[in-house]
Symmetry: C3
Subunit: 400 residues, 3 copies
């Protein structure tokens, strides 16, 4: 812990210098590259002669605010259940996410909205930057307690770039659709974190020590995180989807999926618990798996029944993961998954990707109104109103 005065001074300066360096670098890049887009620039907006009601702000900003709440309140407090790391959880979440928002505005901007030498920003870039920050916080959950803020900032520096690259390959090159980020956010964030956790393996770090002292209030604080994540997950999945029925259906499907994962989590937790007692860690985490599992498919015609089934399976897999798989992960693979992100984000994310493939495979032109529905044909009506303003970046939910 102690060291030579020079080393101590060096460590003292580590965080301040890194923060200043990163902030300086992003500020310069912002000056050179980042510009308002046609909906945030005064001259461009007025010149285009739009009605104010058409500004994307009114369609996406309320959902953005829900996502923003999830990132900072949800993830921040969810990790407080480890009393020992209460401050670290909330404080470092704050720092990491703030940096990730700036850095991913640049990285995602280069990949997705770079035109005429400039990155153009508006409410969609805000949503996407928050999504990337979400992935960084998921990885943070896998290594909580093993490293300090300076190392975490370096992790974010690297992860945001890889996140942008992975997203570009999946969404732009392969043409995959993943509005709620089952693949791009949850699966990526979880496995990135687990790899890091393996690298940082410390045999002397015992699970049992994490939870010493009274955990009553810690668990209540963690429930604040859980519940804000739970209630706003419909906004998370629907924030970047196509306008109109797309956003509406995504929110509805996610809402049903979450109710089912909550019921299956309570059922399974009591079933595998000692003396039938509920385990608060299951309730705090696995109940959210229903949001992760429909990240890819919620925009599709999943049906309310499909959403219930998906949520039920996700809650089940996640709860069983906490009970049986996390200990194996640590003992056999030397991966200490502090917050169990493999159970909440990893497995449900993979499941969500598979579900997306399944639902996309079952899609018919009739179900999506791409062709004329039977009634329309009978009435001699035009087949369909083209979706005029889909988001440029994350696109509609199903393949063209």
């Amino acid at each position: 812990m102690a060291g030579s005065p020079r080393r101590t001074a060096g460590r003292r300066l580590q965080l301040p210098l890194l923060c200043l360096l990163l902030q300086g670098a992003t500020a310069i890049l912002f000056a050179v590259f980042v510009r308002y887009n046609h909906e945030t620039d005064a001259a461009l907006w007025h010149w285009r002669n739009h009605s104010n009601a058409d500004n994307e702000f009114y369609f996406r900003y309320p959902s953005f605010q829900d996502v923003h709440t999830m990132i900072f309140v949800g993830f921040g407090f969810l990790m407080v259940f480890l009393q020992r790391y209460g401050f670290s959880s909330v404080g470092f979440t704050f720092l990491l996410a703030a940096f990730a928002l700036q850095w991913s505005t640049l990285v995602q901007g280069f990949f997705h909205s770079f035109h005429g030498g400039h990155i153009h920003v508006g409410v969609e870039s805000m949503i996407n930057a928050d999504f990337c920050a979400g992935a960084v916080l998921i990885s943070f959950g896998a290594i909580l307690g093993k490293t300090g803020p300076a190392q975490l900032l370096l992790m974010a520096l690297l992860e945001v770039v890889l996140f942008g690259l992975n997203e570009f390959v999946l969404l732009s090159l392969l043409g995959v659709k993943d509005a709620g980020g089952s693949m791009t956010i949850h699966t990526f964030g979880a496995y990135f974190g687990l790899v890091l956790s393996r690298v940082l393996y410390r045999p002397q770090l015992e699970k049992s020590k994490h939870r010493q002292g009274s955990v009553y209030h810690s668990d209540l604080f963690a429930m604040i995180g859980t519940i804000f994540l739970w209630i706003f997950w419909p906004s998370f999945n629907s924030a970047p989807t196509t306008l109109g029925d797309g956003q509406h259906r995504t929110a509805l499907n996610t809402y049903y999926s979450l109710t089912a994962s909550t019921l299956s989590t309570f059922a399974l937790s009591a079933l595998v618990g000692r003396d039938g007692r509920l385990d608060m860690v299951h309730v705090q985490n696995a109940a959210l798996a229903g949001g992760v599992v429909v990240g890819t498919s919620a925009e599709m015609m999943l049906t309310p029944f499909g959403a219930l089934v998906a949520g039920f399976l996700a809650g089940t897999v996640s709860t069983l993961g906490y009970k049986f798989f996390t200990p194996i992960l640590e003992s056999k693979l030397k991966v200490q998954d502090t917050c169990g992100v493999h159970n909440l984000h990893g497995m449900p994310g993979v499941l969500g990707a598979l579900l997306g493939v399944l639902v996309a495979g079952l899609a018919t032109h009739e179900a999506y109104g791409d062709g004329a529905p039977a009634e329309a044909a009978l009435l001699g009506l035009p087949a369909r109103l083209p979706v005029l303003r889909g988001p440029d970046l994350l696109g509609g939910a199903w393949g063209a």
Copy 2:
């Protein structure tokens, strides 16, 4: 407490089996009956050739999210003021509400949006299901600490059906208007809970025991619940009202009413408290009575002054109820109202119904623009724009 091994095993399996059974049953009913409505179904929405901006989602989803926050954060944390039941409050709120959302989607759907053999769902059914979950949680508040999660689920199973029936009789058969649910939610939820509480009367349960140990943090957690309920109550009352001036006026009236109930609660609490000290239980609960009391009338032309008077009376009645009526309820009627729901929801709900009758009785065609306002007649203008898209279920605020 102990029992034969078989009985213990039976009790262990009670909650898991009940959760699985209920989830299985609702999932099958969802598969058979629940379908997307014309605003969440891709083919129906595109066929109708709507502008995306017209999707009901954009008019009601932000209010829905506020209601959702009230149900899960507000009710969940409000009940934490009883330190002994902190986990139960938050955890069982979560389980109960998740189940109630699914079950009331079915029950309310059968009563209100069953067409062509199917229940059609969208943001309005989400709002209505959350309202029903609110009634279930109000009843939970009356029996908190007296029963376990399996019994609570059975309570919800029954209550959701009776809620739907009561709502159908009031709104559809009798044509009563009750957007914010003074009658259907608050009065129903409170008295249902009080009847249950009478049935579950346990003489050995002493009030004083509820609050042992340090209550400092418990009271702060409870204030989280109170304040989220307080700030979002304008959205609760306005979420299902008619679009345009209806939602706007409802939110405004509720906002004024809540400020007045807060002032009268502080005044009365200090007046009746020992040594003029404020009682945190009054502040946490009675300050909210202003939201309950205008549930029926806030959509009407109540006037800002009327809202202040209503809120003031509700805060007064509610605070005095906590001080003087709750002890009588327990000693004379053997009703142990753990969270005092009779004071927060029962009496203000009845008061709200009476206020609704009064304001509806005073309504004039001129005030609501049903006839031509004097200015319109002078200018030879048509009398009025008909309200094009009122919600199907809960309708406008005043009688036809």
Copy 3:
């Protein structure tokens, strides 16, 4: 502490009587003066034959709810970091803000929306009343722990009037634009509170005593306040700005500014802290300075880079203020700034006003599209769509 029985009884009745008196007075004034405006009055709205989608409610209510959350949750819990005053912080915030909403509806109404002998209210008056309550709570932060609820109500009675007067002079007489209130809210609230704090100077009140006992949970509660303020500040600044690009750009600029103030706060806090440790008070407060500093200029064409620089400076100034200036303020000027509002609201507010002057000075017709952009001229298009519906009260962000 003790006194003659009569004095004790007098003090007991102080708060109840003051609450009842103030509520009675505002209720009478509401009855005489306050009326629904053309968007909340049923007859006026329907007569004007508007589409419901045009109701101001849908453009501003989601932002209003975010502001409402900041006032009651944000300010209420932020001050809980002083464990000793936990209840007072949350409880008195509740009482003070509830009264301020009513009283400032009247005062601001007289100054800004008094037509035909009546004050007309709607969502904009709700936002403005919340803003005024914010200023009252900032002042409360400077004197927390020095006075009781009755004195605080009297402070609010006076401050709301002076706030309205100051706002009228700045916005209406001098034509200054200050949508996010760098001047009218933050600077005014901070210096009003600091003057009061000087008047209430109590030499025996030692800083160190504020924080006795375990502060672990108090700091976590305070972080709830901080984070809700942080995430919703983009809505605070954008709630009253011009519709369309104005609201959109304001939210975006505030979002960037806050990320930068967070990074600079962590950097500076670790730099000046003992052994390089972060000070939670800095994190809880100075990280928010980025929201204050762009209150005036966020609606302008500040550029994303400009927002980062502004936020960075504000976080730096604010953190250094906590470390070096607050102790001087107390020892030399006898101003005990309990929550450090001079650092969070005072200095960043002044900085924000200067920044507003700078950005307004640099404004060009081309940047704002007031004249025809070059492209428009080339294409022979009309120069610009006039902004049809700017808010009457707080107006656009830049001078005509």
